[in-house]
């Protein structure tokens, strides 16, 4: 690399941004699947189940993502597992995301009145039909805006994956800056790229929220 910021550097940053997106997607998909189980565990009839899953959520929410990254990479490494940085970062993001999405979705599921479960039960729907046909569709409406909002947190927090040597946007910026020593320029571009990733998500979340509040169906013509 030359000592002037050029197109190659920009490409390197964009490449890093793509990995940021990829890691975000992995964290969201993995964390979403695990988070759904967390949400179900938190509303399960079994008190033991609710308690154990509750402890999991408290533990994860009370632990910095940075520590989760270290544990996933170095911790598993010490235990003899050879974990590539991408897998370690993906695992840490998944666990971190599951605790937060799980709680968001638990709240959404619980906001559906108990009587809806009851009415479904009285129509002989099976427990899984009650959940997926009656309760989840209603909870989705409530859960979507905060879920999209949390996506922004996921994208920004992938920057912590740089500590395990995963070259996403933040790490790419550091690498370039170490070569050029143009911190203001490099980090500004980095910030802009993060902003370009997050701002559309924020807009989307706001739009969804607005639709939830004012977009109620109007009465049929009288």
């Amino acid at each position: 690399m030359n000592n002037e910021f050029n197109a190659n550097h920009l490409l390197f940053l964009l490449h890093g941004a793509a990995w940021t997106l990829g890691l975000s997607a992995a964290g969201f998909v993995g964390g979403g699947l695990l988070g759904f189980l967390v949400a179900l565990g938190r509303i399960a009839p079994s008190r033991l189940c609710r308690g154990l899953v509750g402890i999991y959520v408290q533990l994860i929410q009370g632990t910095p993502l940075l520590i989760l990254m270290f544990l996933a990479y170095f911790g598993l490494g010490i235990m003899g597992f050879d974990v590539p940085p991408l897998a370690a970062a993906g695992l840490a993001m998944t666990i971190y995301t599951s605790a937060y999405l799980g709680e968001i979705w638990r709240g959404a599921l619980q906001s559906v009145p108990r009587t809806q479960w009851e009415a479904a039960e009285c129509l002989s729907f099976s427990p899984s039909q009650r959940l997926f046909l009656i309760v989840v569709p209603q909870a989705l409406r409530i859960a979507t805006p905060p879920t999209v909002g949390f996506l922004v947190q996921i994208v920004k927090n992938t920057s912590l994956a740089s500590v395990v040597g995963f070259i996403e946007l933040a790490r790419a910026g550091q690498v370039i800056n170490n070569a050029l020593f143009e911190p203001f320029l490099v980090f500004s571009i980095m910030a802009l790229l993060y902003f370009a990733l997050c701002y559309p998500l924020s807009l989307w979340a706001h739009a969804l929220e607005a639709r939830l509040h004012v977009g109620r169906r109007v009465p049929l013509g009288t």
């Binding site: 009851e118 009415a119 129509l123 046909l133 049929l220």
Partner: protein
């Protein structure tokens, strides 16, 4: 089951919420084709008794038999019980994310395994029965309370239950809307449906019920044909009717 076996039998039913005893030895029978009105003050246990019949509440003592199934037995098939028993709630409890037609047809397809065409046919028929067939594509929140309640009745009817339970279904409605719901229930009764209703509508109980059960302090205080409303034997029923009307 021969015709002398009651469709529903409550025998010495006991039920407590914590330390509060809500049902204290409740017994009554309901025969096929009968309309039974359960009346009483708030807190007398009448809604709880009704909910026990659909096993939305479990009981602490005594026994309940519904459509030949003992609710206390370990081998009770809850889903089979719910297929025989329809229940309509005070707060309608329609599914807000589904249209009127979907509210009625969902269980037909997913529980009864009907094809879309069969389910559609039944849906139209039962919605016709309650006078809501012109609102198939409406969502519950676009309907009045009385309309929602009629859809809720249709939703239960579609499952072809042997027994319908009505839990204060008109309590949230103004007099005019109450009238339209009661008319539907009256028609059902005339068609021979077995019905148990918890109600505050004394005129309706007097006109439609074959049997009136007056509950007081978790007990069946007085029961008999609708005539007991005209000639109460106990001072409690006399006072209840005096206040209620």
């Amino acid at each position: 089951m021969n015709d002398n076996t009651p469709l529903v039998r409550l025998d010495q039913v006991q039920k407590s919420f914590g330390t509060a005893k809500v049902l204290d030895g409740v017994s009554f029978d309901v025969h096929r084709g009968q309309v039974v009105a359960i009346i009483g003050r708030s807190g007398s246990g009448k809604s709880t008794a009704l909910r026990c019949i659909d096993r939305l509440e479990t009981i602490d003592g005594g026994s309940i038999t519904v459509c030949g199934q003992s609710l206390g037995s370990a081998s009770l098939d809850l889903r089979r019980l719910r297929r025989e028993v329809g229940i309509v709630f005070q707060s309608y409890n329609l599914f807000p994310h589904l249209t009127v037609a979907q509210n009625v047809s969902l269980a037909l397809r997913k529980v009864r395994g009907k094809s879309a065409a069969q389910a559609g046919e039944i849906t139209e028929r039962v919605l016709c029965q309650v006078g809501m067939h012109d609102k198939l594509q409406a969502y519950p929140e676009q309907l009045s309370g009385g309309q929602q309640q009629r859809v809720a009745i249709a939703r239960s009817l579609a499952m072809e239950p042997q027994l319908m339970l009505f839990d204060e279904v008109t309590s949230a409605l103004d007099p005019q809307l109450t009238g339209e719901v009661l008319k539907v229930m009256e028609k059902l009764a005339a068609e021979g449906m077995t019905m148990i209703l918890v109600t505050h509508e004394m005129a309706f109980a007097r006109g439609v019920a074959d049997k009136v059960v007056f509950m007081h302090q978790g007990q069946v205080w007085e029961q008999g044909d609708a005539g007991i409303l005209g000639a109460p034997r106990t001072p409690e029923l006399r006072q209840f009717l005096g206040n209620g009307l």
